[in-house]
Symmetry: C2
Subunit: 453 residues, 2 copies
């Protein structure tokens, strides 16, 4: 056999600390604001929907935050995840580039989302919370929180966007297999759901509505809290195990990356792999180019405005300063549900503004083509979201072929596509086309930004 294709770490090498990039920011973050008062949010205000352990992490500027034993005890089931050298892909591309990928599809729910779900379930459990509510679109996050709830003995209630609920019965079955309850949103179980249904009985729902339902339930019940799968600081923090492990594994491979690539919807898997590298640079280490790849049809980082905006359409979540297309913007129906968010994680936005992240976008057809090229070489069929990172990695490797440079590329393969076969069916059947957002719709959505002094 030739040189290794995968670099494994055993469970003893699971990181003991998450890396908090908030400790190393050259300029402080803009604080999140109360959506009503437009004043910086206090920890007490957040406690209505989040446990104190999570809120502390959301606001912390400690560089290293210890990963609790019970969290590591669950994560070690699939972590450290493997780092692969994509030797077959390199050959297929005839490139002098070295391509590495970190594979998060080994988690039981098939994506990186479980990393934060387990941590959030733990912090809720130890504070006596009985039930977690959340929303899910494509189903990755809902599945992960269902799994995590099952591990810690918490009830989980998932509001699934009605159109997905009907189109993806298997995702619902997966959540129910782990004991969660899954409700099509808008529903008659909440006040805001009933209001929506009264106005529009046939409403097929949106992530914004599902968030409103989940948050309402958490706010109204003492034993119930809410969990979010991306965007917020603590979620990004929980994902840094990806990059921390990758750094150790690249050492095993005797490699130093020139660039780190991840797809970005809310920003959590990208932050997970990139922040440890950006942090090293912020503390005086070498610079690694960090490329955030988003869909052309929902280009918050490349085309959005850096401004305070609502996180949800119902305008009940904190107002955050981030790259946004406007909270009321509804992206066209491209096949990467996890990247269909109007905004971007404030931390990713902030670091992009400071020049530490290079955003770019690709349209969906070239991403699916890249995913299939990857699958035929590396044997793993990526999730449609992850295809965006694959596309960028192949693009960069092709540039190396032109230039003759032997760059080292690391990308995050955030999940597998086994639950996304409808998207591949449509792509292979020639039924997909490239989609673009309407500039007028973004302009209209941006006109609705909250005014903040």
């Amino acid at each position: 056999m030739s040189d290794p294709v995968k670099y494994l770490l055993d469970e003893q090498h699971l990181p003991r600390f998450w890396y908090n990039i908030n400790a190393d920011l050259p300029e402080p973050m803009f604080p999140p604001l109360n959506p009503v008062t437009r004043q910086p949010l206090s920890a007490d205000e957040l406690e209505v929907i989040f446990p104190r352990g999570v809120i502390e992490q959301e606001m912390s500027t400690e560089r290293e935050i210890e990963i609790p034993g019970p969290v590591r005890d669950v994560l070690r089931q699939w972590r450290p995840s493997p780092l692969y050298r994509a030797r077959r892909l390199e050959q297929a591309l005839d490139t002098p580039a070295k391509i590495f990928y970190k594979y998060e599809g080994v988690s039981p729910t098939g994506s990186h989302k479980a990393n934060s779900a387990v941590a959030q379930a733990f912090y809720n459990k130890i504070e006596g919370v009985k039930r977690l509510t959340t929303e899910t679109g494509a189903g990755q996050w809902g599945s992960s929180l269902s799994l995590a709830g099952s591990m810690f003995g918490l009830e989980v209630l998932v509001y699934m966007v009605k159109v997905s609920f009907n189109q993806k019965p298997y995702r619902r079955a997966f959540m129910e297999a782990f004991g969660a309850r899954c409700i099509a949103s808008p529903s008659d179980t909440t006040e805001c759901g009933r209001k929506i249904l009264a106005d529009t009985p046939d409403n097929t729902g949106s992530l914004g509505m599902a968030i409103s339902e989940a948050v309402e339930l958490a706010a109204q019940n003492d034993d119930t809290k809410y969990a979010l799968g991306s965007v917020l600081n603590h979620v990004l923090l929980h994902q840094t195990v990806i990059g921390l492990e990758a750094q150790k594994q690249l050492e095993m491979a005797d490699a130093e990356p020139d660039m780190v690539i991840g797809c970005t919807g809310g920003g959590s898997n990208f932050a997970g792999i990139a922040f440890p590298f950006i942090g090293d640079h912020l503390r005086g280490g070498r610079k690694v180019q960090c490329i955030a790849v988003e869909p052309s049809a929902c280009p918050s980082l490349t085309k959005g405005k850096f401004a305070y905006d609502y996180g949800d359409t119902a305008q009940i979540s904190p107002i955050c300063k981030m790259h946004t297309l406007g909270a009321s913007f509804v992206p066209p129906g491209f096949h990467a549900g996890g990247l269909r968010y109007h905004g971007m994680a404030p931390l990713v936005s902030h670091l992009t503004e400071l020049g530490h992240i290079d955003p770019r976008s690709y349209n969906q057809l070239e991403c699916f083509a890249a995913g299939l090229q990857f699958a035929k070489a590396e044997s793993i069929l990526p999730a449609p979201e992850s295809n965006h990172a694959v596309r960028a990695a192949i693009h960069e490797a092709e540039k190396c072929r032109e230039s003759g440079e032997s760059k080292t590329i690391l990308f995050n393969l955030s999940g597998h596509g086994n639950f996304d076969m409808q998207a591949y069916t449509d792509y292979i059947g020639g039924k997909l086309k490239d989609l673009d957002y309407a500039e007028s719709e973004v302009a209209m959505a941006l006109a609705g930004l909250p005014s903040v002094d």
Copy 2:
């Protein structure tokens, strides 16, 4: 953290040899017969549909057969697969038993099937074969051969039982994603397919018909060979990496199994984990109880007859001595497609007759219940086939709770259930019931056994 839950081996520890139990049999196998002449088959006769490399393995009595470098180069992408200690399940069961499971769901197609697909594709490739044909029911094998063909640049043509083709479009999409062609069987692409369609235009197909179509095409084209996913000696041989790795990993865990458990349809995953242990015993080592678990609705090992029978309904494949319910027997529609075969691998049958394998059966509801119990503890949702092994392992662990014995149980988790969510949807929705075969149907099928002197 407490003691380890998983035992990893890096790719350098991928076995270099397959273990061939044919070398250690106390009594020789009954030879396969030509279905027409009823005389022992020659290698030349098999060469019409198989490459010479595969035929040599089918007939070999060498104990160790080297795994070619290019095969190891593909297998190492996901092998060695992890061995897990099911600590959470042990706690949930409150048992003094130690439960280990080998997890084959880490392969890109989600089951052990890829182990043999890669080897078979390689042997065909080096003998100049351009195209492989095969049949698939549930889709696991077709997916695996599609993947393997893609790795070695072979065309793959999969005849998929028409009812599954229509019910499981995602499996088809998965095969097509890897460049394979998938045809609903019976089809108009073969003589036997056309004949069936002429007689019964609405025929929804069967595994037997799909085999006939795949074999016909291979027999009629010089550049085309046929590949089978279970039953035959060489397929079982290729699966022994499972047990060989498990033996090394149990050593790492300082454990010696008292019993080894696998589900049995055609017998390949069970043989893969059990044969290295049975072989050790046959060569004078300690005896490990090997439990083959089959569905009550298709109980070839526990209720079938040990006799020469056809492998397919069209009676064109070799006649083998095996435990069989009769080649014309059609099992009821329970949800474990990979276990719906009328016969059993001749090697597994032979060793059962010799007292080295303990067969048992469970009905489907208790298997699904066991699968969900396992998932909630261990975070992995098993394939419906694998649930049979899970059921037996839990049963044995419960017996230890009663007796106070601390036995060490090893079972093979042959695949994950991510592609089987319809089955879980039906189970959770209360739509499944236990099924039993009709004794009169088996009696009728057994009456059709070929007469062999």
